[in-house]
């Protein structure tokens, strides 16, 4: 097994290779404005670092968000186009699940990332592998109380949620994303894995849809919001 994983759903642009046992190479650059420029070179970099070719890759996994849309799409588009040329399946893993997994926590906690517009994308976990609620999008002061909060959203709104609750990690790591995906892929028959990768019609743009997500699913974006667009009324008059 050789899993290529990438995530562009947060300011971190990250790529990694995982052989089913361990992370072979990983690249992480934090730059919220340059996902489109940084990702392809990062993939080249991790491949070169372990002397691997894309032909050796058996599955491609992208963080499916939720996350600011422009960056998010770069990772998912890259994964699905690469998968097409290599002839393997592309999968999506909820970015918040990958952050949770990387924390290694055994007790309940929240993951929160920046959703812009003074909101956070968040989910509640029982432990590092178990999502209990979410992903959702809300104002930081609406997060459930008490539990520790990991992810960049915790740091950004430390004053609102209480500085004592802020914990690491801040960003997702593609290494953790790859490890999580590898763990799930190893437990699946090839037929079931292929079924999971098949992209159903439509997008995940509501919390209701998002709640049904399996950890490993099709490489499609979790938006949680519908596009902002107003249906116009009558044309504005130009004469007063």
């Amino acid at each position: 097994m050789l899993v290529l994983a990438l995530d562009t759903a947060t300011p971190a642009v990250t790529a990694a290779l995982h052989d089913g046992d361990r992370v072979l190479a990983e690249s992480t650059t934090v730059d919220a404005r340059r996902h489109g420029e940084l990702l392809a070179p990062a993939i080249e970099h991790v491949l070169r670092e372990c002397d691997a070719s894309l032909r050796d890759v058996t599955a491609i996994v992208a963080g499916s968000g939720p996350g600011p849309y422009t960056g998010l799409r770069v990772g998912l588009m890259t994964a699905s186009a690469l998968a097409g040329t290599v002839g393997v399946h592309a999968y999506g893993v909820c970015t918040l699940d990958a952050i949770a997994y990387a924390s290694g926590r055994g007790e309940p906690f929240l993951v929160a990332t920046d959703a812009r517009r003074k909101e956070v994308f968040w989910a509640r976990y029982g432990d590092a592998r178990t999502r209990l609620d979410g992903p959702r999008v809300d104002r930081p002061h609406d997060l459930p109380g008490e539990l520790p909060v990991i992810g960049a959203g915790a740091r950004m709104y430390a004053e609102t949620i209480g500085p004592g609750r802020v914990a690491d990690p801040e960003y997702p790591s593609a290494g953790a994303l790859a490890a999580l995906a590898a763990e799930h892929l190893a437990a699946l028959t090839p037929e079931r894995a292929a079924e999971l990768a098949r992209v159903p019609e439509g997008r995940i743009d509501s919390v209701e849809q998002a709640r049904e997500l399996a950890v490993l699913g099709p490489a499609r974006p979790i938006y949680l919001r519908r596009p902002d667009a107003q249906i116009p009324g009558a044309p504005k008059k130009v004469t007063a």
């Binding site: 070179p41 080249e44 894309l54 422009t70 770069v74 588009m77 186009a81 938006y223 596009p227 249906i231």
Partner: protein
């Protein structure tokens, strides 16, 4: 590289609402497949960038696969990938650029990030053969209105003028709304105008005699709205066909006048018209009439190659490969305001 005389180029275009994928070999068109999100935008009365970006992500891989199937090719037959790097909607461009980089990386072939406007020029070669050097190009659509001097589409394209406010196609959309016609306005105004008179109402022609090769359509659009509102306020019915025809006449009069002025000024005998508005029947007719009178040869690609499409990007990519131009790096940005001086990035 395959053992053929000319390489096969995959072209990807996502600057606005069309997910365009084209395949060409030299000047031969192999496939031109388009997925449009226009229906999703229609109820908003214009292209919504976020809606377009979402649609590009969903449509890209299936559109590439259907283009390959249509051409009877496999991924391994592709020798180079070209993509619109700008100008256009930033978020929409980014999806295409990410896809193109991944295709180039996955196939191990060179990437060419290209200029959307230059691609509108290059595409005509798929239909009418090599472009005379130099040519003048008039590119008119909902997103751009430009006059270009094209000494050599792979090396040298010079901007002579462009709109200082609205694009021509944008004016069509806005006037269509005022007249209660659906979005996109171009085809509806064209159709309505056939039963009206282009000389019924004397609408203003912006920058008509200003000596520049620039355009302005904002004043015209406002004048049409005022005229229609005055009629409505007086309780009179609005003669939609006459308004459409007179508005359209004003637009195409200015466009063709400036295009012929450019030909004269630079002593060029070949005029190319491209972009979505090139589908307008009155623009084609008046351009032909004025070109004939001036001894200028007119080239207009068929409508499917005039509107935004992937074949135009592949056509320009093919031109760049043939010219021996170095490929783009995998870290090129999508540039929403890419100047025409950058034919490739």
């Amino acid at each position: 590289m395959n053992m053929r005389d000319e390489p096969i180029v995959l072209g990807i275009e996502t600057s606005c609402d069309e997910t365009g994928v084209g395949l060409v070999r030299g000047h031969t068109l192999l496939a031109n497949t388009i997925a449009s999100s226009m229906e999703e935008h229609a109820r908003f009365g214009g292209v919504v960038p976020e809606v377009a970006s979402r649609a590009h992500l969903e449509a890209m891989a299936p559109t590439v696969e259907s283009a390959l199937a249509k051409a009877g090719l496999r991924f391994s037959d592709v020798d180079a990938v070209a993509v619109t790097a700008g100008p256009g909607l930033a978020g929409a461009l980014l999806v295409g650029v990410a896809a193109a980089k991944a295709y180039a990386l996955g196939l191990g072939v060179p990437l060419y990030g290209v200029n959307h406007l230059a691609a509108h020029v290059a595409v005509d070669q798929l239909e009418h053969g090599p472009l005379p050097k130099p040519s003048i190009a008039l590119l008119v659509s909902g997103g751009h209105s430009s006059l270009l001097l094209v000494p050599d589409v792979a090396h040298d394209v010079i901007s002579l003028g462009s709109t200082v406010d609205d694009a021509a196609g944008e004016a069509f959309d806005k006037v269509a709304r005022v007249l209660g016609l659906p979005f996109p306005g171009g085809p509806h105004i064209d159709r309505s105008a056939t039963s009206g008179s282009g000389t019924a109402i004397a609408f203003p022609r912006g920058k008509y005699d200003d000596g520049t090769l620039d355009f302005s359509f904002s004043g015209l659009k406002t004048a049409v709205a005022r005229w229609v509102e005055a009629r409505a306020a007086a309780g009179e019915t609005v003669p939609v066909a006459d308004v459409a025809a007179s508005f359209q006449e004003a637009v195409v009069d200015v466009l063709t006048r400036k295009a012929l002025q450019a030909c004269r000024r630079y002593d060029v005998k070949d005029l190319l018209i491209g972009g979505g508005v090139a589908a307008n029947s009155r623009l084609r007719a008046l351009a032909q009439e004025r070109c004939d009178a001036a001894g200028v040869r007119l080239r207009v690609p068929r409508p499917g190659l005039c509107t935004d499409n992937g074949a135009m990007v592949a056509a320009l990519g093919s031109e760049l490969v043939a010219a021996g131009i170095r490929p783009s790096a995998l870290d090129i940005p999508a540039d929403s305001s890419l100047p025409i001086t950058a034919i490739h990035v």
